[in-house]
């Protein structure tokens, strides 16, 4: 079962299964508890999108001011791995999500919101 099932800003389906959500995201980043809807909304309407500097099929999304207190003044960072299949087309998988103060050095800016 998918905890997150939504579309990114380009209309590509993005999911996060229970295993990743509970065993990785919540287990290592408990500040994300209850943030499923915020993550979905951010994937759909990001503030900035970066190309991961190591993995060509990973993109990193940032959006500030969307997390609940006491993280409301920081960025939400979401890493999505895109898998291109001949039969199913492209699908994205949420790999991690957490609150951060600054953006990771070295990643390449692909797109930013005009807001």
């Amino acid at each position: 079962m998918n905890i997150i099932d939504c579309f990114d800003k380009d209309g590509i389906k993005v999911v996060c299964d229970e295993g990743t959500w509970y065993n990785h995201i919540l287990a290592e980043h408990p500040e994300m508890t209850g943030c499923e809807e915020i993550i979905k909304a951010t994937i759909n309407n990001p503030y900035e999108i970066y190309q991961d500097r190591i993995a060509i099929n990973k993109k990193v999304i940032y959006k500030p001011f969307v997390l609940p207190k006491p993280f409301h003044t920081y960025y939400l960072r979401i890493v999505i791995e895109y898998d291109k299949s001949k039969f199913r087309g492209t699908k994205g998988y949420v790999r991690t999500a957490f609150a951060c103060v600054n953006k990771k050095k070295g990643d390449i800016l692909l797109w930013e919101s005009s807001l």
């Binding site: 290592e28 500030p64 609150a99 990643d107």
Partner: protein
């Protein structure tokens, strides 16, 4: 967006040493990420240190409660071969599957060596003025 991101920085002090000494090392092989964190994870905000690692700290107190290294084997250990040697021995003891985490002497020794290594890394970055309000350099007791 009409608001400002608060550029908080983690704070290094006497408590940092105690906090990091009582952490566990946990490696997620699927994501190639090493976590150094309290046994019971605590909510925290992350600070990127030069694209090398994330320092996790409490937003209220600024106390450092853990570290997270993405691309640990694929990038970090290649850049720091001295840590790679230690990791070879410790890996089987620090790799977690689901929620089961190994907690034995080898893993603890690895953590101690790694923290000593981070001590040097932090010092280097402190000299480059990456942090404000830093008064104390980490010292890990063996």
């Amino acid at each position: 967006m009409g608001k400002l991101i608060v550029e908080d920085h983690p704070r290094f002090d006497e408590k940092t040493i105690e906090n990091l000494k009582s952490t566990i090392a946990s490696y997620n092989s699927d994501e190639d990420t090493l976590f150094i964190r309290p046994e019971i994870p605590r909510p925290a905000v992350s600070y990127d240190l030069n694209g090398e690692l994330w320092i996790r700290f409490d937003p209220a107190t600024k106390e450092i409660i853990g570290l997270e290294i993405e691309n640990f084997e694929s990038v970090f250990l290649k850049k720091h071969p001295e840590a790679a040697k230690v990791w070879k021995t410790a890996k089987p003891h620090c790799t977690h599957k689901k929620t089961q985490i190994a907690d034995d002497e080898i893993c603890t020794s690895f953590l101690r060596i790694l923290l000593s290594f981070f001590n040097e890394l932090f010092q280097k970055n402190l000299q480059q003025a990456d942090f404000r309000s830093v008064k104390l350099i980490l010292t890990i007791k063996s």
